[in-house]
């Protein structure tokens, strides 16, 4: 059943920018940071929101969270109009800004959680339950009594995520949550988000430049550039349209000259290992494996997709078509 928790219709945001022309004169220009975008997000989805810097990502998120009022169009988040019912909406959402902190700098982490409990009016039992669970999953124990300013980035981010979810929000907006984290911390954050989404049907809008975040978490992608939505769809779809090529990596029993196959070409050879590039719409992986097996003894196979990096680059290059 369709249950769109975020609805964006024909939304635009125009700013007046003063540009200096020479020493004293200043020109007024209107710039559309967001230029008529529309999308709907179903409850319980994890959506990735991509775009080059200055594309309009943070402006969109600010409009969705009630910080900015749109110049035109209609927004409904959890059924509410963010520009008119900011305070009501705030109780239903969680926000993590990658660079800024919502925690109290010189207080222990635990105290921040306690203050937030009062601010969001969370019943004490529910708060305790949530906190215990999150503390467990994110391993907050060792540093929950440490002042926030003494925490490492990874520890702080885990604290921020907890803070954003303690009040059982329907939607969380995350802005670059894994930026600057080491590999282990990133994995922990992704794992956590995935679990929270599964268990509590929390909708997640994730702004990120980290493509691994997208691959591991997002079932849907929105790509914005120059204020326009240039892609809205699933990851698989994206791959199919913009990443038509896949690579079959075969480990043969012994080194051999490059295999000759229909529908695939060898792009690299390294001893007994060969990389075969093929188009997904022309050849299926299983067909190809069978064809290879007919020519040589196979020890192992692996399939590589087009780098998401490459796909995104192509989308940006294709621009707002």
């Amino acid at each position: 059943m369709a249950d769109p928790v975020i609805q964006v219709e024909d939304v635009e945001k125009r700013f007046v920018v003063r540009v200096k022309r020479g020493r004293l004169r200043r020109e007024r220009r209107e710039v559309a940071a967001v230029d008529r975008i529309a999308f709907e997000i179903e409850r319980g989805t994890i959506v990735g929101y991509l775009g080059p810097n200055g594309a309009g990502k943070s402006t969109t998120v600010k409009m969705l969270t009630g910080i900015l009022v749109p110049s035109g169009g209609r927004i409904r988040v959890a059924g509410l109009d963010p520009s008119r019912r900011r305070v009501e909406l705030a109780a239903k959402i969680g926000v993590v800004f990658g660079q800024r902190s919502q925690l109290w700098w010189d207080l222990p982490l635990r105290d921040s959680f306690e203050l937030l409990r009062h601010i969001y009016r969370v019943p004490p039992a529910r708060h305790r339950e949530n906190l215990d669970r999150f503390a467990d999953v994110l391993a907050l124990g060792p540093f929950i009594d440490t002042p926030v300013r003494q925490l490492s980035l990874g520890q702080r981010m885990r604290g921020e995520l907890t803070a954003a979810l303690l009040h059982d929000p329907e939607i969380v907006f995350l802005d670059e949550p894994t930026i600057g984290l080491d590999v282990v911390a990133k994995a922990a954050v992704r794992e956590f988000l995935s679990e929270v989404n599964r268990e509590r049907a929390v909708t997640v809008l994730l702004t990120t430049h980290d493509l691994a975040d997208i691959e591991r978490l997002c079932s849907r992608l929105l790509v914005i550039d120059h204020g326009r939505l240039i892609w809205d769809g699933g990851l698989e779809e994206l791959r199919r349209q913009h990443g038509p090529e896949r690579t079959l990596v075969v480990d043969l029993e012994e080194s051999a000259p490059p295999l000759e196959l229909d529908g695939a070409r060898v792009v690299k050879v390294d001893g007994p290992r060969q990389w075969l590039r093929f188009r997904r719409d022309e050849t299926s992986a299983s067909e190809l494996i069978a064809a290879v097996g007919a020519q040589a003894r196979l020890l192992d196979v692996a399939i590589e997709e087009t780098e998401i990096e490459e796909i995104v680059r192509r989308i940006y290059a294709a621009g707002g078509r």
């Binding site: 945001k13 700013f15 900011r86 305070v87 705030a90 109780a91 800004f97 800024r100």
Partner: protein, 267 residues
């Protein structure tokens, strides 16, 4: 309403607690700030070393002005003094963070700090006021006795309202915070003197626009039973509480309007 009050107390309680951790340093700071602000009063004493009166006001009477205005301003400084840093909050995105919380933005900004060290200023003003009340030739009545605390409370509300309203300038021009200081610190400075010594334009400004004349001067006329040189209606001497409420309401409106502008024009 009461709930917001409780949240306010909790938030500033957290800040106060973290400051109390450095107790020794805090006591030192309180002491130091008390001494330093007392020097302001010393300046007044120096003036009176040279003349017996200032436009018909004796040193004890001026001390009364100084005391009432001083306590009011010091209390205001305690509650909203951190508004000096408000432009920084806008610049670094802290204000956006505030907009994402389910509380009124003004409450959050006001609750964002509470500098215990400012208690020093309150203490020195209280000291001066007590001495002034004893030394000035006051014919005490119930009304006059009640006016002293009433003036302080009203004065605090007036200064607070003025400070908040002026601080919203940061939404429009980020670098302009020092203009605000001219009126807040300057306002406190001039409140220690009878407004009769100032030029007409300034008198009208502090009576009708930024109503700081209602903090100390007008209540003092009543307490000291001094004739009003300016021909103002006598009712104004009792009007401080009303002016206080009015100022706070206006400040609230100015704030709401400024936030609306911020949300339309962009961060």
């Amino acid at each position: 309403m009461a709930e917001l009050g409780r949240i306010y107390l909790r938030l500033i309680g957290a800040r106060a607690r973290s400051q109390l951790e450095y107790r020794a340093s805090l006591v030192l700071q309180i002491f130091a700030s008390a001494l330093l602000t007392l020097l302001d009063f010393v300046m007044i004493l120096v003036l009176f070393e040279n003349v017996p009166e200032l436009d018909g006001w004796t040193v004890q009477q001026v001390a009364l002005l100084y005391g009432i205005a001083g306590i009011s301003f010091a209390l205001t400084d305690l509650i909203v003094g951190h508004l000096d840093l408000f432009p920084q909050m806008i610049r670094d995105g802290t204000f956006d963070q505030i907009l994402v919380r389910p509380l009124p933005s003004l409450l959050q900004v006001v609750a964002s700090d509470f500098s215990l060290r400012r208690i020093g200023k309150i203490l020195q003003a209280v000291a001066v006021l007590i001495v002034a009340l004893a030394a000035a030739d006051i014919e005490w009545t119930l009304g006059r006795a009640a006016m002293v605390p009433l003036a302080v409370v009203s004065g605090t509300l007036i200064y607070t309202g003025v400070w908040i309203a002026l601080a919203t300038i940061a939404f429009w021009i980020v670098d302009a915070i020092e203009f605000v200081n001219a009126f807040t610190y300057g306002g406190n400075f001039l409140s220690a003197y009878p407004i009769t010594i100032f030029g007409r334009w300034l008198r009208n400004l502090v009576l009708f626009v930024i109503p700081i004349a209602f903090v100390a001067y007008l209540p003092a006329l009543y307490i000291l039973d001094k004739p009003d040189e300016l021909g103002l209606p006598e009712a104004l001497q009792y009007a401080s509480p009303f002016v206080a409420v009015l100022t706070v309401l206006v400040a609230r409106l100015v704030w709401e309007n400024a936030v609306r502008h911020y949300r339309s024009a962009g961060g």
